[in-house]
Symmetry: C2
Amino acid sequence: MSWSDPGTPGWPGKPGTDASTPRSPGPGSPDAARTLFRGGTSTPTAGWAPGWTQANLISVPADWAYDVLLFCQRNPKPCPVLDVTDAGDTSSVLAPGADLRTDLPAYRVWEHGELVDEPAEVTGRWRGDLVTFLIGCSFTFEWALGDAGVPLRHVEQERNVAMYVTDRECRPGGRLRGSMVVSMRPVPEHLLETATEVTRRMPAVHGAPVHSGDPSAIGITDLDRPDFGDRIEVPPGDVPVFWACGVTPQAAVMTSRPPFAITHAPGRMLITDVRDDQYLLA
Amino acid sequence: MSWSDPGTPGWPGKPGTDASTPRSPGPGSPDAARTLFRGGTSTPTAGWAPGWTQANLISVPADWAYDVLLFCQRNPKPCPVLDVTDAGDTSSVLAPGADLRTDLPAYRVWEHGELVDEPAEVTGRWRGDLVTFLIGCSFTFEWALGDAGVPLRHVEQERNVAMYVTDRECRPGGRLRGSMVVSMRPVPEHLLETATEVTRRMPAVHGAPVHSGDPSAIGITDLDRPDFGDRIEVPPGDVPVFWACGVTPQAAVMTSRPPFAITHAPGRMLITDVRDDQYLLA
């Protein structure tokens, strides 16, 4: 008999990143995608690298790391932490071969809560005291939705997912506070239950929807004007469904104004070497 | 339509501690148990307050809080964080009416990794800079085990559960490092699958077992000499089953020697006002 949930040795319970994790070969692989992004390709990552976990990124100076980690711990639905690096690290156990400074399609650079740049890589902006948080992303469960027959309208429409700042205040963590951000996917009404059940089983990547139907119930005044990403057409018979979103820490940066932060550009995620079923609860 | 997983307003995704949470009346209630403990009753809490979530406690000075939170984030199986207080707070949202300094049956006080006291309350030891971590406890899933027909040998034998330090190193978090601690329950061999399935659905209170069978496979040399708690007899036909344990941070304190820490005494937990099914994944 053996450890029933070993993960990597020394990682009790951590979803596996062990060397035996299979990698899909070719352009659908995390490596191939990251190589393209490192070379300058900038695109939303929805639909990329089927079956691999995608992650939001936020890097802050070490003296803000506790605030971010506490904020995430207190708001696990929008901010499920998949990894935290040590200060200055430029890679993560979730993607050992990736360089966190170059391998995402696009970044955002923040000073005192103001967006000051949206570059393709941040090598020149990097600091030795930056702690990086990788946070679960709903793109990870889109494959499961597709497998269950739920159409992905933003992929069909070749657009980034639509994201909105809601009126739901997160529980503050230290100096960090802000409202929950949600991503929206139109779902045919008869598949609403299916979409809920499929995603409920993946709490590490936001889990079940937080709302469906009337956008104004969560403080969204105009579905056609998302705060991040693209407008998505809601076909007749579809209902807008809202999932907690890992852009929430970015909204908290805008509200709480730490002196410096780097984040991914919304919808342009880190593609990791972790299979999405590692975060599936049986 | 409405928020499908509202939790407390402003707590996106946090298991509910809302005012409408029903409380069982009488001696089985969290309040009644805590009142007894506040009055001096010292006993393991296994079997107390049926259906209510129990929690491990560790309080450290604020300048060690990031190390503890990072250690827990990196080792979610033994250290699932249910709440983190702000510095100096003496209560938690998980049990608003409880005083964290007096309402556990017994505490341990640590200086530089040495156990210096095991008092019934810690009011005199409290400091304004203490941050308290409440961590999921496997006593929470014992009711689900019982409901599924799995006998609880330590309760039958009127003993504290047996706990052991394993040879599995946790992933370090800042200055905090140490080995994983496990709790052991004998399970009739034909119920092993049942016990695994029942607990797998409760990852916030340690989830599925990390091992079953040969104790030496995880570095336990003598089952009759637990590192914490009591020796439990393993009846013929039973198999020893090991779950990750929230005493793990205590072992890390012994190894890593922060200048000061307060913990619960092993097996003598905080009983919260949160129903255990709040941590059940459907």
